[in-house]
Every structure is written in C-alpha cells, then in structure tokens.
C-alpha cells in the first residue's frame, strides 16, 4: 500500500471483495545469479565429446553467454511463483475486459493438450503416424462449420489478426480470379485496430466509414461508399458496442450487388454461438478467435488461434495444406491447391490451441447455446444495474457486452482509466478502456457466461460505489489503485527513454 495514498483511503468496509495481504518481493532473475549455481542437470553424454572449436571452426564458436542467469531450481520456482502472485487472472475473479471474452479455461483442456502422443508429435511425421492429430483437426473443422454455418475452413492462422489477413487474402485472390483488381476495404469506425492493420498487410487501402447515431452501420453511407473499387466490408457483428447489426442482411446485399464481399470479424461470436450463424446472414468469410469464444487460455497475451471460415466460392483459395478425409476414414493433407493464397504459418497452426478448442466444444455440444445465453444475460444484468449511474452512449439492446462512457464522471475530473484503476482496489480486473474509438471515454464491459450472479452483483456494487466516490472523493479515484504493490506506473517515462532489457551493473 502506498504510504502516501493511505491518507485518502476510503473506509475499508465499502470494499467487500478484496483486502491487502502480505506479498513477496522479488527482483529480476539476473539479480539472483551467482557463478556455479544450476537449475537443471542433463543426463551424461553417451557419445565422445567433441571440441566445439574443432567441430565448428574457431569463427563459429561462442563463449558462455555473458550475463546469462545461473540460479538453482528452487530459486526459479520461487521467482516465478512470487511473480505470478502479482497477476490478476480469470482463476482469481471476474475479468470483464470487453472484446476479450475472458471466460473460464477448463482444466481438462490443459490435461489433454499435454498427453503423450499429442504434445509429443512432430508436424513432419508421416501421416500414417499422425492420424490422431489430423482427426482432431478434422473434427474441430466440422464443429466450427456447424457453429458458423459456413462451407469451408482453415485452421492455420494463429490469431485473430492473422485470420483477418488470411480472409482478406482469400477475398483478394477470389476477386483477382474474377478479374477484379479492387483496392479498398471498408471498415466501420468502431472496428478493432487489427482490422485496418491487416488490410494494409493484405495490400489494400483502408476506407473508414462512420457509424450512424445508433452505432450501427449506416446503410445509406455504405451504399455510397461501395464503389467498384471496394473489395469488401469488414464488419464486427455484434459490433464492438456489443450490438447486433440489425441490417446485416441488407448490408450483405449492398455489397454483393456490387461484387464486393462481406468479411466478419468473429471476435464477438460469444454472443451468437448456438443462436445464429453468420453463414445464414450473408457473411462470405469470417475468422473466429478460439482464445476468446472457445475458451483457450490467454496466457498473459497468447497463444491464440484464428481459424477462417468461408463460403464455397472462396474455398479454392484456402491456405495450404488442407486436411481432407479420404476413403476408409483416413486423413490426408491436400497440398495441391494451385489457387491457394499460400501458407500463413509453418505447419498446421497452433495445434495445441485447436485441440483445446475442440475439447471445449465437446464439453458443451449443443449446450453451447446455454453458454451464449448466460453471457448475454450477464451483460444485460450489469447494464440494467448500472445504467442509472453511467452514461450509455448508444442504447440499442446489448448482447454479450455493454459499453458505457465516463461522460458523467468526467464532470468531476474522473475518467474511464481512473475508474478502471479504482476497480482494482475493489478486487476486479478493469474493463476495456481504449476502445471502441467512437465512444470517448469508453467503458467496455464483457462479463462472459463464466460469472456467477454473485460475482456480477459484487461488480455492480463496486461500480456504483466508485460512481459515488467520483462525486464525493474524486481524488481517491484519480490516484487509484491504492492496494497494489506498485502504484500507477509512469508510462510516459517508459516510452521516452525505453529500458527494454536488463544489463549487468557496470561495476562488475
């Protein structure tokens, strides 16, 4: 606890969900190093040792790596155990980061991903000895096709952004095969930052289009913008406001009429799985974020997987290879796909993530619908209980997330980031603050289906209490968090003179 800030600490009893508790300090692992300590032994070498300078040539050899750590096993265990205790996590509580779908990561998925015979398999081993892996890929493909209502799929992209790139390249390859050299991709102003960034890597130009007053795509504008030069529209549905694009069918036909395609960013599929299928409402290609909707663990920033699903017309353009079923139920890789966009990653993508996503899907089966319903229920419950305290800039019905703004709290000089930081003291991870850009001071809250009513109620209480604090004691909120082992960190200084690695002290 910052000694400075204790003075303005609110009465402890308003915070029910968390209390400070003693926590271990720990430096960098390099600071524990001492010559001769070891954390791991190797089995003895069972062939004659070679002299590296002889074997490689003097110019190719390096000496011991300067500054590399020398620590014992228990020091490694303690180092990372202590570090871990400084993290918030889904296993500790609600993590309502909007657009991130931080849901429960089932433990059995970790177990099966580590099975000998799965984790141990080499991607180049003969297909006769990889039928198990291939069947996992194939079964997952079938599930994803059923959930999205699409016709074709690639599991190779390893994140949402790579899925976007892959989908865009497929669109490009398709249009070029039709003889259309189109140049632009339309992107609503509410889109996630990866969308425009992916467009550029796909060699397209970004054309931003504004949302209407209700936060939906303005179909009139869309008509105007959809020129001959437009290859596709990238739509996020439900949008990043958590709202379903009601005119999605109309949007699709506007595009299709003009020979353009509809790309859907499926990051928000947690609002639809089991309820509605993008394939039914005119989407030509979409990606899924398996590390969101399909519960694979985020691991502090990855890994993920971003499969791309497409309509029949785009199938020839899928990345190579494609897993196919041959007669007798054997699986094979089809490399011979001349119209393919090529490879977007070596091997079969993030197999370990794909496997977990399949485990997740099998656990629910058709019951995925209930998960989706609960996710939407939670978001609406939170919305209902907070809408008298926080500004709702767009008030169409919410699906899996709700986006407020800090407009009311701003009057007291308290912004969304301050409220977010104060939530930490209340025992929660903050919501998403940076995004969507069409909402200044956005507070994007996605509880997911994994939160109990009790956890939602505690969150509501915390938010209401902070709203009150913003009025009565704004400084308390503006200097939050007060209960963490470090206070707000100086990001400006970090960027101005970046220190991006540890270096041995000069005295040595």
């Amino acid at each position: 606890m910052n000694s400075k800030s204790t003075e303005i600490e609110a009465p402890a009893n308003t915070i029910r969900k968390a209390r400070p508790h003693v926590n271990q300090t720990e430096g960098l692992i390099f600071e524990r190093s001492a010559p001769g300590k070891r954390g791991m032994e190797l089995p003895p070498l069972d062939v004659p040792p070679v002299d590296p300078a002889r074997a490689l040539g003097r110019d190719f050899v390096r000496g011991p790596v300067d500054g590399f750590p020398e620590v014992s096993e228990i020091e490694v265990i303690r180092h990372f155990t202590r570090l871990s205790s400084w993290n918030y996590a889904i296993d500790l509580g609600m993590y309502p980061l909007g657009s991130c779908t931080m849901k429960y990561n089932p433990r059995v998925n970790e177990y099966v991903a580590r099975l000998d015979g799965l984790a141990s398999e080499h991607p180049e081993q003969p297909v006769e000895l990889a039928q198990g892996c291939m069947r996992i890929l194939y079964d997952l493909q079938k599930c994803l096709l059923a959930i999205t209502g699409m016709d074709a799929v690639t599991l190779q992209p390893v994140a949402g952004a790579q899925g976007e790139l892959t989908g865009l390249l497929m669109i490009r390859a398709y249009l070029e095969s039709q003889g259309h050299g189109r140049k632009k991709i339309l992107i609503p102003d509410s889109a996630h930052g990866t969308n425009p960034a992916s467009v550029v890597i796909a060699g397209y130009e970004v054309q931003n289009i504004k949302s209407d007053a209700r936060g939906q795509i303005d179909t009139d504008h869309l008509r105007d913008f959809t020129t001959e030069d437009v290859a596709a529209l990238m739509v996020t549905n439900p949008s990043t406001l958590g709202v379903f694009e009601e005119r999605i069918a109309e949007i699709a036909s506007i595009l299709h009429e003009r020979g353009a395609l509809l790309y859907m960013d499926g990051a928000n599929m947690n609002a639809l799985a089991g309820i509605a299928r993008p394939g039914d409402f005119g989407v030509d290609v979409l990606h899924l974020n398996l590390h969101k909707t399909f519960s694979t663990p985020h691991g502090g920033g990855g890994p993920g997987a971003g499969p791309v699903l497409a309509k029949k017309i785009l199938e020839p353009f899928l990345p190579v290879p494609v897993v196919v079923e041959r007669e007798g139920g054997r699986f094979a890789f089809d490399h011979n796909r001349p119209r393919s966009v090529g490879r977007v990653r070596a091997y079969c993508g993030n197999f370990g993530v794909l496997l977990r996503a399949l485990a997740y899907t099998l656990a629910y089966g058709p019951g995925l619908r209930q998960a989706t319903e609960d996710a939407v229920l939670n978001a609406n419950y939170i919305r209902k209980n907070l809408e008298d305290q926080f500004e709702l800039p767009y008030n169409l019905p919410s699906m899996h997330e709700v986006v407020f703004s800090d407009a009311r709290q701003k009057r007291h000089g308290v912004n969304t980031m301050d409220i977010a930081k104060r939530l930490i003291d209340y025992g929660f991870h903050p919501y998403t603050t940076a995004f969507p850009l069409i909402v200044p001071g956005a507070m994007m809250i996605e509880p997911t289906e994994s939160e109990s009513k009790e956890e939602c109620d505690l969150f509501i209480d915390a938010m209401r209490s902070i709203a009150l604090e913003a009025e009565t004691n704004p400084d308390l909120v503006k200097t939050a968090p007060h209960s963490t082992r470090v206070g707000r960190l100086d990001e400006v200084a970090a960027a101005r003179k970046p220190i991006l690695r540890w270096k041995p002290p000069l005295s040595k």
Binding site: L42, V112, D280, P297, G301, P303
Partner: protein, 446 residues
Amino acid sequence: YLPKSPSERQEMLDAIGAGSIGELFESIPAEFRLQGPLPLPGPLSEMEIIDYFQARAQENSLGYTSFLGAGVYQHLRSVVTDALIQRGEFLTSYTPYQAEISQGTLTAIFEFQTLMSQLTGQEVANASMYDGSTALAEAALMAERLTGRQRMLVARSIHPEYRQVLGTYAKHLGLGVEEIGYTGSGQIDAALLSKQRLTTAAAVIVQSPNFFGVLEDLPALADAAHAAGALLVATVAEAASLGIVRPPAEADIVALEGQSFGIPPSYGGPFVGVIATQERFVRQMPGRLAGQTTDAGGRRGFVLTLATREQHIRREKATSNICTNEALYALAATIHLCLLGKEGLRELALQNLSKARFAREELERIPRVRSVFSGAIFNEFVMEFPRSVKLINAALLRDKIIGPLPLGRHYPELTKRGLVCVTEMTPRSEIERLAAAISRVLETPL
C-alpha cells in the same frame, strides 16, 4: 462450466425486466435465429473428453523413435516449466494492459527480452511473434520499412515453409523475393550476392543453422550487405544452437523460433517467435515490448511500452497487425532458460554437437551412404542414400523408427537426400539402431 442455477437465471431476467431469455436476442432478425440445436457431438463429461483425446493419441506415433528436426526439435524439458506456466495467475491472465495487477507477466516478459537479446547478440528483442516463420516474414517487412527498398534476397537454404510464409506476406505488398542458391558447403552462394544486386535490395535473408543444418557465415554476409546499404536478416529455427554457435550479432534483424526452449512439438504449435534488432531500429519493430519504469513512490515496475508502433494505437499505420502473440510460451522459454542457465545452455548445445557428429559418422559407415554438405553443422545434417528416402523410411517404420526427412519434396535437386536430426534426447543406442536398420534396408534388394 456454467455457474448459475435455473432460479438465479430467472431472478436475473426479472431484474432486467425480460420475460424470457429469448427477448434478449430479439435484435437478431427472427429469420436468422436458429430454431433447433446445433448438430454437434457432445456434451461430454470430463472423463469422456479424456477418453476421446487418449484415443487420438493412440493413433499417432507413440513408441516410435524419431530423427526429425527441420524446425521443430525434441529437447529436454523440465516438469518445473510446465508446473509454473500452469499456475492460473499466468495461464488465465490477459495481455498485461493493466500494469499494477500484471507485474508478474510484465516482469517475465522483460526477462524474456533480456534473454533473447543476450542469446542473439542483439540490443533489443520483442515478446513475441507467432513463430519463426511469421517472425521472418515480419522481419522482411521491417527491412523494407527501414531501407525503403522492396527486393529481398532470400537464401534457398531457408526452411521451405518459412519461405512460403514470407512469400504469402510479400506477395501483395509488392515485395520482390529472389531466391539465392547454395553451394557444396550447404551455405548460401555468396557469389550470387553481387554488389549491384545488393544495392537495390532491402535485405539478404538467411537462416543459420540453415535448413540443411549448416551454419552460414554471417559476418561476411553482413559485410557484403552493409557495404551496399542493404540489411542482413538472419533467422534461427534451432535456437539451442545459440548455446555454442556464434550469435547472429552482425545481423540487423534476427527472426528467431524459440520452440527449442522448453516448448513441446505439439504437432507444430503453439511455439514462440522473436524479433531482435539494434536499438536504433526499435521503432520499426513489430510486436509487444515491456519497458522498465517507476511508480510515484520510485518503485521499479514494468509496463508495455512503445505502443505507438502497434495496431491498437496506430491502426493502419502500425508496424504490424499482430495483437495476440505467444506470451505463455515466451514465459515457458524464460523459465526453461533460467533453469538451464549459463552452463546448462552450453552443455546442452555441446551434447547436440557431439551426438550429431557421432550420428553422421555412424551413418557414413554404411556403404553407399554419404554426407552431402561440407559446411559446419550443429545438430542436423543431410545424407545421401542410394535409394529414395521415402522407401527407406517406409521400411524403418517396421523398426518403430521415423527416419530422415526426405528433401525431394521441397528440393527436387535433392531427391535421395534426407535430413537427419539428433539432439541430447536421442540415446546413442537409438542412433546405432537407426544405422543398423538403414544398413539392413539397403542390403535388401528393392
């Protein structure tokens, strides 16, 4: 996995004022709302899920000894690494945007960046890229941004799938990719890198050890490139080599695959890619970076920094579209390298070196089997056989051996050649068994 009782659901609906859960979905046009259940298998209980995957594992290569490498390596892993990355606090946290409750992840990332810098001999490293193949593609795009030149001179001795990915990324950006062949040493044919050719090139791109297991002469390549204002991009697919092989310090950008550091093969992923470079290039570097700073009380802490390179701030002007990366495996690599330590890293590399030499000698003893390239190798090497490697491999399966990788598919000029990999995990007896089995196969007439 759902934490609600039916009556709680009803209570919440009542609070919302909705008559039924269906009401909450009314913004979806009715014609798009599914009527029946999805045609999915399941629901399965935990035990049934385990049974399903255990059955799949049985359909793979359990019980076989493999001599495959080619970008994915079987190295020693400690159970400690796996125990630590499974701690919920690491496993189930998001990207550390909220630094005050993410210092665990941020500190580990900072350590990862340091380790990668130390290993590659570069000044800075990011955390992280998807894998080696995409890191290489991104390194090429970075070289283009840094030089303003569009042509890439790419060694044919680079991992074929890495080249394919590079090709996919380069294609629509108008980047030219020119392939540069190799010599009898197995190294890039430097004679083809004329000054003239280099003057308009963004970068020479090589892999070391390359796909044939042969080390490239990076200092010389760097000199040639730099003399013509081009960059040297080096990729490392077998990072364990850095325990004993001279680091790619002379390269301007290093694209590294970190799978060798405590990450299981897992049929090709998830792995972890890294881009390392010089400080002066950092603002053109893609990917996430943690930096050191302080709080108001002067306490050291770490934050994500230089985000103005990234898509969530810069959108179409970002250095890359990467967002989710491979943080958990960057953590795994960090833990693994801390355990291995300075001595262990070197000892492990030495074991690989020694075993590969031993294996090559064993195979060379077989009549009509010979080593193909003369360059220095780390733990992989190419052998020529008197008949198709595929045929040999098919026979080896009977001995529960997965043999050398046939090179013919990617290098038509290298049919009857196979790439053999041995690591510290390959017991001498298995190497001997491989040699004996190949001898036996070759003695049998076709």
